[in-house]
Amino acid sequence: MSGKKSNLPALTGIVILFLFIIFLENIRSFIPGLPMIFDPMSPLFTVLKKAAVYSLVAVSMNLLNGFTGLFSLGQAGFMLLGAYTYAILTVPSAMKDQVYYLFGGCAFQFSLVDFFQGIFGSAGAGYAVGLILSCLIAIILAGVVAGFFAFLIGFPVLRLKSDYLAIATLGFAEILRAIFQWQTLGPVTNGANMIKGFPTFTSFNITGAGGQVVLRLSTFVPFLITTVCIAIIVLLINSSYGRAFKSIRDDEIAAEAMGIRLFTHKMLSFVISSFFAGVGGAMFAMYVANAQAKAFTSTMTYEILLIVVIGGIGSVSGSVLATFLYVACSEWWLRFLDSEQYIGSFKVPLLRNGFRMVVFSVVIMIIVLFFSQGIMGNREIDLNAIFTGKKRKSGSQGK
């Protein structure tokens, strides 16, 4: 980053990517004869949405683990906070009695969606503005809540050394999960049951007067949010603070001797990473259309950690690339391993439910053991170079 170089090609490239995503999701309404893969319900779009959500979480984890050298395993806990914050703030009041029926309604009657509909109206453009604003504010607050908890947790745990930090953050995530499943808090968290009925990615599809979808934006929205968030993280990494983070990772004692306040900078990285994990959690809730504590287990954190490792610890573009590959393999390309397959009349052995994940874990172990640099090591894909050189790239090339 010399500073003089223009970022225009990268920006143009991202805009083109966005347009391409929108085009892709709507293409079947213009040309109905296209293969099923272009159907908005096809695995392609599931993969794109989920990968968009996961790539933000992976990058946020990389900021902490890869760039600051803090081995934290609390990501799922912060996602949980984000998901619940988003859900609780946006479930419309009308839905609350139904969602919280076990607890005789919700103790928290406020809903951002209702609030903005009260201002902008509940139909047409006013509805759209209200929806966008309420989701935007809820997502930001999701990040703020996660960041604030990270700040509180940071005081005890950031003084710990590598593996103790890992196990302590993992422990905090488990404690949070227990608290959110606690029946006593049911009127707010709905206990162990899921919260649903809030705006999801699908809510952003533009519908016509008869209720039919005119323009699908449900894949574009997660791409947009993730891109903005990752762009902010990249700007941070390339700033003076980013360099300070890296110096802590490389040699803590030297960093401190050069006047870099360890605790402050570790805290900063921890809070920012958790903020974006919270945003990722809110988006995860939008993606699965519910918020439930039991989804945010340590297995989820491990999964994200493995994605970061596959992409290369210390590479943002590596994390993004790895997320798309990982999600595509697990949700789509390797699905066939889970059901019986025949080549001619020959039944391929071993294939049945669960085999995909076995193959997957073996591949991950091979990467961990023999390609510890991951796909990118600590290098980055230069978007400017890509978009000035060859133009079009597939969807997985997002920033």
Partner: protein, 295 residues
């Protein structure tokens, strides 16, 4: 009163089972400075093997077989997943351990089809006995006795034998021991073998008390056992055992509190709260030694 006794008894027994896993963690951490995230899953696999073997073989044959194969598994994991990374950063080894854990869980899901498996009734262990007016299973009485016996044997091994001396040397100073001609790799293998064997014994006792094994069944006991090891002072075997008993008893008490208090959901979270408290206030644990970094 009877209720209190039965809660205490089962607390001690759960604690004993955690202790058997915790020793594996504490030994490995003492030598490799590695949180062996896969250890809990080795324990789970031992449980599954118990189910599959007792289905076809008599118990007297299948239990030793389980122990042998678990030892083999632990040994193989160390050789394949940790040994190549001996000089890599600590984070890489820990990631490798998480990878192994992921692999074991997914393989278990594949083999069992994701269904919870019922652990066989082992005649003697599942039999009931009357203690101070409460009916309880034999396993509850036997666990602490077995644990204490094994700990005494292990302490003898570590303090009286040549292998034990090598283990102590390696845990004090890895590099110097290597230079002094201690065969590091065999010492580490022995550590994993002991840890896995104890996990196998632990799995028999633990799952006898539980209705079913799922592929995730090892993760939580594993983490708790690790917390117990940290609590007692990582690297110290008596510390791990005492830590495990404390955690087991506290957890059973929390689970046994009146349901109107609605706190049983915190039985797992409590362990982690304890972990964070000990890390903040006494990071070396109850019996551990403080370490300093050289500048």
């Amino acid at each position: 009163m009877e209720y209190v006794i039965s809660v205490l008894l089962s607390g001690i027994s759960v604690g004993g089972q955690y202790a058997l896993i915790a020793i594996g963690y504490t030994l490995v951490y003492g030598i490799l400075r590695l949180i062996n995230f896969a250890h809990g899953d080795v324990f789970m696999v031992a449980g599954l093997m118990g189910i599959y073997f007792t289905a076809v073989l008599p118990i007297s044959l299948s239990l030793p077989l389980v122990i042998i194969l678990t030892v083999l598994l632990g040994f193989t994991i160390e050789r394949v997943a940790y040994k190549p990374l001996r000089d890599a950063p600590r984070m890489s080894v820990m990631i490798s351990a998480i990878g192994v854990s992921y692999l074991l869980q997914n393989t278990a899901t594949y083999v069992t089809g994701g269904q919870p498996m019922t652990y066989p009734t082992i005649p003697f262990l599942s039999g009931t006995v009357n203690v101070a007016g409460t009916q309880t299973k034999w396993v509850v009485i036997l666990t602490p006795i077995l644990v204490l016996t094994l700990v005494v044997l292990l302490s003898l091994l570590i303090n009286r034998t040549k292998v034990g001396m090598a283990m102590r040397a390696v845990s004090k100073d890895f590099e110097t021991s290597r230079l002094m001609g201690i065969r590091i790799n065999s010492v580490i293998s022995v550590t994993f073998i002991i840890g896995s064997a104890l996990a196998a014994v632990g799995s028999v006792l633990f799952f006898t008390n539980y209705p079913a094994i799922t592929p995730m069944a090892g993760a939580m006991p594993g983490l708790k056992a690790f917390v117990a090891a940290v609590f007692g002072g990582i690297g110290s075997i008596p510390g791990a055992v005492i830590g495990a008993f404390i955690i087991g008893i506290c957890e059973t008490i929390i689970k046994g509190l009146p349901s109107s208090w609605d706190v049983s959901v915190f039985s797992d979270a409590f362990t982690f709260a304890l972990l964070i408290l000990i890390l903040v206030f006494k990071p070396q644990g109850l019996f551990g030694e403080a370490a300093t970094d050289k500048v």
